[in-house]
Symmetry: C2
Subunit: 413 residues, 2 copies
């Protein structure tokens, strides 16, 4: 048994320099929320923003708000804030559309920028929608390109001079395994390939340095660790050196060099706005800023340190206090090799996660056996790790998970 | 001079069977809002919905709301409500993504469904983003297709057996001119072409009968006459007979036949959900229902009748009371040939619209000379038409529009 105690973890919370951030989130008292890797918690400021956007900006100022409330500029303003967080420069990022759609833009653009190459390379255990979007694009390109899918640990070896672009999710959505952005990008460039990174499970979870790694393009979502709100628009990064060379194909009016000229023919914007397509969902987008502003107040190195400690503690307590129940760690043990989530496999994982949720411990489940727990350092406390494991221990020891209601299949997010 | 009087128009408001709908909108007292064709007014219910989505569904119920608050089903539930309004069947419409992105999906799908044909036909005065998306697609298809652009009154004649799809905006965004959906669709089908309709300026403005006209595909936006809120997600229609034949290329996980299986390869859903791509902006989407519910309470024939009367009155008063100031009608005089907006051209239109806005009469301007006024029958009163024209008459008679502040160029939506 570990010699950790609940009091020891409470003492860690007292010393936690990030602890004040938790007060800036709306979190129900009876919930231990370990699903910020799926939907981040609500920054309290977001409710006031929503009321203002709907009540005043839309309700009172109506169409004028496109200018006076900065609606048009929002994708750029938020993109520039995000750039600070992710090691990009101003004018290299936009908040817009969805992750999948942004990836489609980038993959199509990469195919144009590297026209002699025919292979798109991805991890075979990539988040499926990334693979699906590549398959949709390749089908549309009519046989000129192929998708090569290899295990994550074979990505480096698979990059060769047939590869047009390697498109990688940095943190695996199931296991939390972290790939080496600098090394893979360097290998891609050495082979003449472009490097595209999906940061869905990275942004807000760990330090990311896009330009430091010389990354070409990136996409990601804002509703996980960035706490942007349900389905909040995604982001897209295009390094300055790739702007104004070729156009992404979803060439809507927001990507035109002069949108309000309403000229008949498309003329691509020479800058990051070419990555935009059309009108954005303003209310959902405006709330993203609340989450971003918190990250800009915090130290990402501290966030990373706390994330690693939370995850280490979770593994240690799972193994010391739930070691008899058949859980199998499905995440890297080495904190430098993973994001901010821990997965355990268990044959009865589905029912166990449901039993946990019924007790207010919110994790999620990914078929076939993957129990997934995210640790968002801005609002998860050390004591939450203890309490979550104790609930799980109790559920297993008493057989509570065997109840019928937990074993009936229904939609799980 | 017309023998209309302000009192006569006030009397019409008293008898207006739609007048009670105005009370369900948030409208500032000092505003005459004639820009519902650009951004619809705010249904009062929308603020409560936003507070509930952000405060309770996100803030308290967190990830569970994907199921318990119906977030996953929202594109379908809203699509089915919209289907009632637009003459489609349940399971033929989705609310998702943006109009431009939805058009891209449909154009790409149409190219697949009609593989022997190479021409996409559009009106040359189409809303530019429709043309841009077609240009982006054609560029990506690598020379296999061409875009043919002809004047609106030559569309019928231009449909021949080279045309894969004719993609038409039913109501012209500048002039309000209404094209004949039944006739153009019939001609397209007679020539073996598919008919795609953009309903951005139709939905909520006039009766639309997609299946009655045998339309193949349609797209449109929810933030104009439907009052969905700034940048609220768009809609897409695919007739049942075209579902499960080919896939649109933005093949994200929401379009998969079993999204939560997280299988490696894309397998297209056999139904309308194949038109979906990825996670949607829930807060912006949820508010759309407030506008839709009002339309489902109203009689579209009455809406159309009032719309025509409002527009006829505006033309009559503009010509009788502002006839000396050089305004030139840029909309069909015949109410059966137009949507719910009226445009006048004037060389100084930009400054005049700004002077009107400063007085609280909100219309908009489209280069080079087009002053555009939308008449949303659910909240625009007959007396508003009178008052708007009187403001304009005063602005012209006094030369108020000549002030420097109205002649400085800035962004106009």
């Amino acid at each position: 048994m570990s010699n950790l105690t609940r009091d020891a973890l409470k003492a860690m919370d007292k010393k936690d320099t990030l602890s004040s951030f938790r007060t800036r989130f709306e979190l129900p008292n009876d919930i231990i929320y370990l699903d910020g890797n799926s939907l981040g918690a609500q920054p309290k400021a977001a409710l006031a923003v929503a009321k203002d956007v709907v009540g005043r900006q839309w309700g009172q100022d109506l169409i004028k708000s496109w200018n006076t409330a900065g609606w048009f500029d929002m994708p750029y303003r938020l993109g520039d804030k995000l750039a600070v967080l992710l090691g990009a420069d101003a004018g290299e990022m936009l908040v817009t559309d969805s992750t999948g759609i942004n990836l489609y833009k980038i993959l199509a653009l990469a195919a144009k920028l590297n026209p002699e190459r025919s292979v798109l390379l991805m991890e075979n255990d990539n988040f499926p929608t990334d693979v699906y979007m590549a398959q949709g694009l390749i089908d549309q390109l009519g046989g000129s390109h192929t998708l090569k899918l290899v295990p994550g640990d074979e990505i480096m070896a698979a990059i060769d001079d047939s590869v047009a672009a390697v498109s990688i999710t940095q943190v695996n959505y199931k296991t939390g395994r972290l790939l080496d952005m600098a090394a893979i990008t360097a290998k891609a460039h050495a082979c003449g390939a472009l490097a595209i990174w999906d940061l869905c499970h990275s942004a807000g979870a760990l330090p990311v340095n896009l330009n430091g790694c010389n990354v070409d393009f990136a996409v990601g979502c804002t509703y996980k660790y960035l706490n942007g709100g349900p389905g909040s628009p995604a982001f897209i990064f295009a390094a300055k050196r790739h702007q104004n060379k070729a156009s992404q194909p979803l060439s809507g009016w927001w990507g035109h060099s002069d949108p309000f000229a309403f000229s008949r023919d498309y003329a691509a914007s020479p800058n990051i706005s070419q990555m935009a397509c059309g009108t954005q969902p303003i209310t959902s987008m405006a709330m993203i800023e609340c989450g971003l502003d918190m990250f800009l107040d915090a130290d990402m190195a501290e966030i990373r340190k706390k994330s690693n400690t939370l995850c280490d503690l979770f593994i240690e307590l799972m193994e010391s206090r739930c070691g008899d129940f058949g859980f199998e760690l499905n995440s890297p043990r080495d904190g430098t090799k993973r994001g901010s989530q821990i997965s355990f496999n268990h044959d009865n994982g589905y029912a166990i996660v449901k039993a946990l949720i019924a007790r207010g411990v919110i994790g999620d489940f990914r078929a076939p056996a993957n129990m997934r727990f995210g640790f968002a350092p801005l609002y998860v406390r050390y004591v939450d790790v203890w309490d979550a494991v104790e609930h799980l221990r109790d559920i297993m020891a008493t057989g509570e998970w065997r109840k019928d209601i937990y074993n009936q299949q229904d939609a799980v997010t």
